[in-house]
Every structure is written in C-alpha cells, then in structure tokens.
Amino acid sequence: MNKKIQNLYHAIGLPRLIIFTFFILVLFAAGFYKMDTVALLSNVLRRWGMYGILVLAMVPAIQCGIGPNFGVSLGIVCGLFGSLVAIELNIANLSIFDGNKMLGAWATILFAIILSSVIAWIVGIGYGILLNRVKGSEMTVSTYVGFSIIAFMNILWVTLPFKNGDIKWPIGGEGARNTISLESSFSEIMNKAGAITIGKPETGLFVPTGLLLFFFFLCFLVYLFMKSKTGIAMSAAGANPNFAKASGINVNRTRIIGTALSTSLGAIGIITYAQAFGFLQMYNAPLMMGFTCVAAILIGGASTTRAKIVHVIIGTFLFQGILVIALPVANKALTGTDLSDILRMIISNGIILYALTKAKGGASNEE
C-alpha cells in the first residue's frame, strides 16, 4: 500500500501536487469570499479552450526532440498574418454572405486558419532546418529566434500598407493598430457555436461548446498523428536519435516535420485565441506567450523530453484555472493590487526552472 502511494506520488510529481493543492485552496478561498464561483468557472472553461491549442503545439515539438518550443511565436505571427489577410480581404462581408453573417464569419476564420497554417508549415520547415543545425541548444536559440521574429514583424506591421479600416490606425496612419477588433469578422464565432448555459441564462455556467469541441478535435487529430507511422517514428527519433537512426528513421526529417506541425498548431492556436478574445493583439503582445505555453504543458505533467495529449488538457486547465480564480481572490485579500500577473510569472517560470533542473541534458553527466 505504502509503495503504491509512493508510486502514485512519483507519477504525479511534487510540483503538480503543489499546484493542484494551490488550485483547490484558491477555489476554497473564492468560496470563502462568497465570490461568483460559477462565473469564474465559465471563465476558466473559456480560457481552457482559448489557450489549449497553443499548448497543444508543444506536444509535437517535445516529442520530436527539439524540446519545449519557446519559438512558438513564429507560428503565432503566421497566424496573425493569416488573420490580417482574411480581414483585409473583407471575406466576412462579401456579397455572397449577405444573407448569412454567420457563414461569412466561418468562411473568414476557415480561410485564416488554412492560409496561416500553410504559411506556418513552410516557415516551420525552415525553422526545423535551423534547429537541426543547432542540436543541443534548441531552447536558447528558439527563444531568441522567437523574440527576434516578433521584433522583425513589428517593423512589418508598421510598414505594411493595409487598407481595411479595422486594421489601420484611424487618423491618416499607416500600418496595423495595437489591437484589432474582430467584431465585424470572426469574433467569438467558435465560442458561440452550440454554446449552452447550465442553470439560469444570466448567471449559469456558460459552456463554449464549439471552442472546446474544436480544441478536443485538434487534440484527437494530433493523437491520431502521433499513433500513425510517421508519428511513432518521430517519437522514437525524439526519444533516442541514435537508436532511431539505426532502425532506418531519418531523424532530421522527423524533427523538421515535428517543428512544422508545432508551428502550424501555433498559428491555429493564436486564431482560436483571438476569436475567443475578440481582438487580434499585434506588436509585442505575443512576446512571452511561448513561456506561458511551455509552463502550462509542464504543469500538466510533461517533461522537457516527453509529453502527452493528457498533459496538455490537464495543464492548461490547471494553469488557467489558477490564474482566473486567483485574480479576484487576490483582489479581495489585498485590495488594489495585481497579484495575478506576478503569480503567473512566478508559477510559470518556476515550473520551467524546475523542469530544467530535472532534465538530464547531454552535458549534465559529464563529470
């Protein structure tokens, strides 16, 4: 019995226990302060779907052996670019969709997803080739590649000649705004699809069915891919490159596929995020998103070398749950302060640090 508990403890891991206890504590605290727990929970559900796909993008990256993809910003800017093109072309308000606004919105988001995931796939191939050249220090390089691509795209966002009034600055300006409203294109289209409210219409638990279904559907697709021949080869190459090579797997090629898939998922993830949020956030907003995603999957139980779909689902829920619930609780406990942001920094970076100390890299056992 004792051994079983110990095994369970090892399977769950200390940080997850702490985080989970913390989550429960925060929940109780919310109840203690008599807050609207149902509203908080529906917020958690919304953010679960919102961030889920971005976190899912970590799975192929970790499994193919490049480690947590801090450079997911590469995919994110592709997603932003795809959405911008979709808005610029004004697909939602084309004359064929005159009768049905809903259809127009779906067409826009579909167009954005397809376009940006194709672009992201191509970019991801190049990124994968780069990461193949720098084996062993992918994490540092990918972080800075992510940072520099954001800075580079900042220059582009300022200079690209957008015509659509939703995108460009209102008064005689050039370039994109800081936040672009999706009101007239695809705002909350997935959230509202088949949404149900449990309980009373105003105060009940709002379930964004479409968003969650899309998230789970993509999870399922990635799961299928990981079980396919290519996916298994990829995981093998990530787990033990030498062994994989010996069994005839082209390690570099599978790494490139994993990276490209991760980048594409990042692009789809940011579009899902933006539609749930109602705005496209340009410029430096996605700068630290990579860190948040990495932290979420690590909280879910992944390591820097192995990750499963379950980790994505659990990790995102826990991480976003804590953030959403802790904010009002902190506001009640300590008035007029923003503990949530600080909490996010400490938890997410602390968990990454913990995972790094546990990762026995190639160089750590040199002595």
Binding site: L130, R133, V134, M139, T140, I346
Partner: protein, 489 residues
C-alpha cells in the same frame, strides 16, 4: 632596426584587418554604425557625446559577463538578479535618507552581500542544469522578476512596515513606479573629484607597497628592495605634487574635458613606453619584438594626439567632459579581470570552461569554481547597476532591471565575443558599436523613412537578432567540431 619595425607594423596592420574581416558581426555593425551616423541628420557632436555618456553607464555591466563566459557557463542571462540586488539596496538607502558618495558606498556595502547570496543561488541552479545554463538563466531572470515584484509590491509596506510614505503608492503598500534619485544618489560617483580619487589611490598604493617592503625585508632580505623604495618615493612625490595650487585646482573638478583626457592619456602612454624601452634596452638587451611593439604604441599615441588638431575633432573633444571616477572604475574592473585570470582561481575557471571532465580529473572542484564565477559576476553586475542608475538619475522600480541582461549580452556579442570566449577589449568595442547604433537607429529611421517608430523596432530587432544569430552560429560550430574529430579518427 628601421626595416624591422616597418615589416612588424605591416604585419600587425594586416593581422588587425584580417581579424576584423574574420569577425563578420563586428564588421557588419561597423558598417551599420557608419551608415547610421552619416544619416542621422544631427551634428556629430550629439552622437559622440551620447555614446560617451552611455559608455560610462553601461560598460561595467558588460564587463560583468566576461568571467562566466570564460568559466564555461555561457552568457550569464542571470545578471538581472545582480541588478535586482543593487536596486533593493538603492531603495533602502534612499529610504534611510543617505545622499552623495556616503549613500553610494552604503549601497555598495549593502548590495554586495545580497549579490553574493544571489550569485550563490544562481550558481547552485546552474550546477543543477549543466548544459542548459543560458535558458535557465533567462527563465530565472523572469522568475526572479516575479519575486522582485512580489517583494516591492506586497512585502514592502505590507509586511515590512515603511513609515515614510513618500516612496510608496498611495495607500502605503507597494513602492512607487519611479523613484527620483536627484538630490540623493544622482551623479554620486560621477562627481567624485579627481583629486580625491588620485589621493585615495596614491595612499592605497603607498600603504600597499610599504607593507610589501616590510614583509619582504623580514622574509628574504634585500631582493627587490631598491625598486620598492623608488616606487614609494615616487608615490610620496606625486602626493606632494597634488598640494601645489595650480595642479590642485585642475584636479579639483570632477569632469575631465575629453581633449585634456586625450592629451594626458597620450603623454602617460609615451612616458610609460619610454620607461619600458629604457628598461628593455638597459636591462634585457635582446628583445627587438618588444621594442617594436612599444614603438608602435608611441606612433599611435602621437597620431591620436595629432588628430585632435583637426577642427571637427577638436570641437567634439572640447564639448565633451568625462566623469572621471566612473571611467576609473571601468579601468579598474578591466584590470581586475586580467588580474583574476592570472591567479590560480582564474586558471581553474579557464580549465573548467575548456572541459569539465579534464578539470575534474585535475582535482579542481568544478561545482565550487562555477559558483565562485557566478558570485563574482553577480556582484559586478550589482555594482554595474549602481553605476548605471546613479548616472541615469531616475530609478524605475519595476523596469530598470528588465533589459539589463539583454543589452549587456547583445553588446558583448557585437564586440566579437562568443559563448566561450570574451575579453575586455571585445566588451569595450562592443559597447561602443552597440550603443552608437542604439543612438543613431531611431534618428536615421525618422530621417530617412519619416517614422521613428521603425527605428525603435529596428533596434530591438537588432538586439534580439544579434543574440539569436550568434547563439545559432555558436551551436552550429560546436556541432561541426565533434563530427570532424570523428572523421579524423
């Protein structure tokens, strides 16, 4: 002799050019800077004086990075933690109401033990994450930022009572966004006069050599005795010289005109070279190569001095004055780095940097050496941040440290340093190039493209891009090497 010297200088010049060419990053930045300076649309004086100010502010922080690089820890993204130590001490010193140089010394005294503690913790973490120090350092910086904000926003005023509420957010919990250092710590180091500095240095040197003489006399009698006596008497003579009114008045100021600085530098260099040549010629007769080196130094000194007679250069040198003490601190720390690397500890660090396996089998305690390197780097970073903030004059509580690591590392890499190799020269060159670009990029962009925003984004891009590029290049090289070695086998 003459012919010899010519061929020597030709060779040196050729080597120098080749070095620059082989270091593509430096070359690229040189070209970018020259292009930027040419298109700023502002007078040259503006750019040069900006660069000099930034040089005084930032160089110390960049030099704090050198030791960990040589100890094989890579670029220390964790220097942000050192900067935090400095900022914590600054807050308390300002809160307690200390001003001027006393305040600064108190800051140093307070921040050093904190920085050592932080350095120890960082080193411990790096030992746990060998091979991934850089990413750990980066994540650590963000993690520490969270704790730092927790400290300043909740613990100060919340748990530690703060009576004086002028520094706090209305309500008494949490420190204000910016703390004005005008009137307390601003220019605390910059305004220390040359006279004071010189006297302190001379007295210290006097005490040091006197102690040396006494110890030597006890140990081994008269060897080296004469030279020490000469040194001591020169020190006393110099000290007496500072009492002469004309010299005292000249040294009494805290800023040195660039023109005077160049003149003094050239004269000192020539004096130094002459004594060296004399000693080589008189004592060790066969060292032609050395003589050539010193002759080259004389010629460079004369050329530099002659350059100041060009009207444009003369105007610039007349309009810029340097804070002497800050520059002295930079020179001292460069000297410290060189000295440290010549000691046994420094050699150990280099060995660890080359190969931990070899170091371990040679009986060096690898983990301990790495922790010491981290402590030194963190302490230097905290001092560097003190110098930076006292010169800047405003202390933004939650933002002052966030870019420290990024800018310092980018500057070092621009100077041609790598992940495993760095020296003082590269740091200095890097700071000059990087900050020149930093000054001119937005101005040029607004001049050429009509939008200064592009320039701002461009310089951020340059920062991140330089780091990404050099890290990628370094990783690429280190992968290629083992592959080649295998082929040879």
């Amino acid at each position: 002799m003459k012919n010899n010297f010519l061929s020597y200088s030709k060779k040196q010049l050729g080597n120098g050019l080749k070095n620059i060419y082989s270091n593509k990053v430096v070359l690229m930045f040189l070209i970018l800077c020259i292009f930027g300076i040419a298109t700023t649309g502002k007078p040259l004086i503006f750019t040069v004086s900006e660069v000099f100010t930034r040089f005084g502010r930032n160089t110390f922080l960049v030099i704090a990075l050198i030791i960990p690089v040589l100890a094989g820890l890579g670029l220390n993204f964790g220097i942000v933690v050192g900067a935090m130590a400095a900022q914590i001490s600054i807050f308390f010193v300002v809160y307690w109401g200390f001003t001027g140089i006393t305040g600064l010394i108190l800051c140093v005294l307070l921040s050093t033990p904190i920085a050592i503690l932080f350095g120890f913790l960082v080193g411990w973490l790096y030992n746990k994450t060998k091979g991934a120090e850089m990413i750990s350092g980066m994540v650590l910086a963000y993690f520490a930022d969270g704790l730092y904000q927790l400290f300043f926003l909740f613990i100060l005023g919340g748990i530690i009572p703060i009576k004086d509420t002028t520094l706090m957010i209305a309500g008494g919990i949490g420190v204000k966004n910016t703390i004005d250092l005008t009137g307390n710590l601003k220019y605390a180091l910059d305004t220390v006069s040359m006279l004071l500095l010189l006297r302190i240095l001379l007295v210290l040197y006097f005490v040091f050599s006197a102690a040396n003489v006494i110890l030597r006399k006890k140990k081994e009698g008269k060897s080296g005795y004469k030279l020490s006596i000469i040194k001591i008497s020169v020190t006393i003579l110099l000290l007496l010289l500072t009492l002469i009114p004309a010299i005292r008045d000249f040294l009494g100021t805290d800023r040195l005109l660039l023109l005077n600085a160049i003149t003094i530098g050239c004269v000192l260099a020539i004096l130094y070279v002459i004594t060296k040549i004399c000693s080589i010629k008189l004592i060790q007769k066969h060292k032609e190569l050395e003589v050539n080196k010193y002759l080259a130094m004389i010629i460079i000194a004369i050329i530099v001095y002659a350059l100041t007679y060009i009207p444009v250069v003369f105007d610039i040198t007349m309009s810029i004055s340097l804070p002497v003490c800050t520059y002295a601190a930079i020179i001292l720390i460069c000297g410290f780095n060189r000295w440290l690397l010549s000691t046994k500890l420094g050699q150990n660090m280099r060995t660890v940097g080359q190969s931990r396996t070899v170091a371990n089998s040679a009986g060096i305690n690898v983990n301990k050496t790495r922790i010491i390197a981290m402590c030194i780097s963190t302490v230097l970073a905290s001092w560097g941040q003190l110098i930076y903030l006292q010169n800047l004059g405003t202390f933004s509580t939650y933002g002052a440290h966030s870019m420290v690591g990024l800018y310092a590392i980018a500057a070092l890499l621009v100077g041609g340093a790598g992940v495993q190799m760095a020296n003082n020269k590269q740091a200095i060159l890097g700071v000059i190039l990087f900050h020149t670009l930093f000054v001119v990029a937005p101005l040029s962009a607004s001049n050429l493209l009509g939008s200064s925003l592009i320039g701002e984004y461009f310089r951020v891009f340059i920062c991140y891009g330089v780091i990404a590029l050099s890290l990628a290049l370094h990783a690429w090289k280190t992968i290629k090497k083992p592959a080649k070695q295998k082929e040879l086998k």
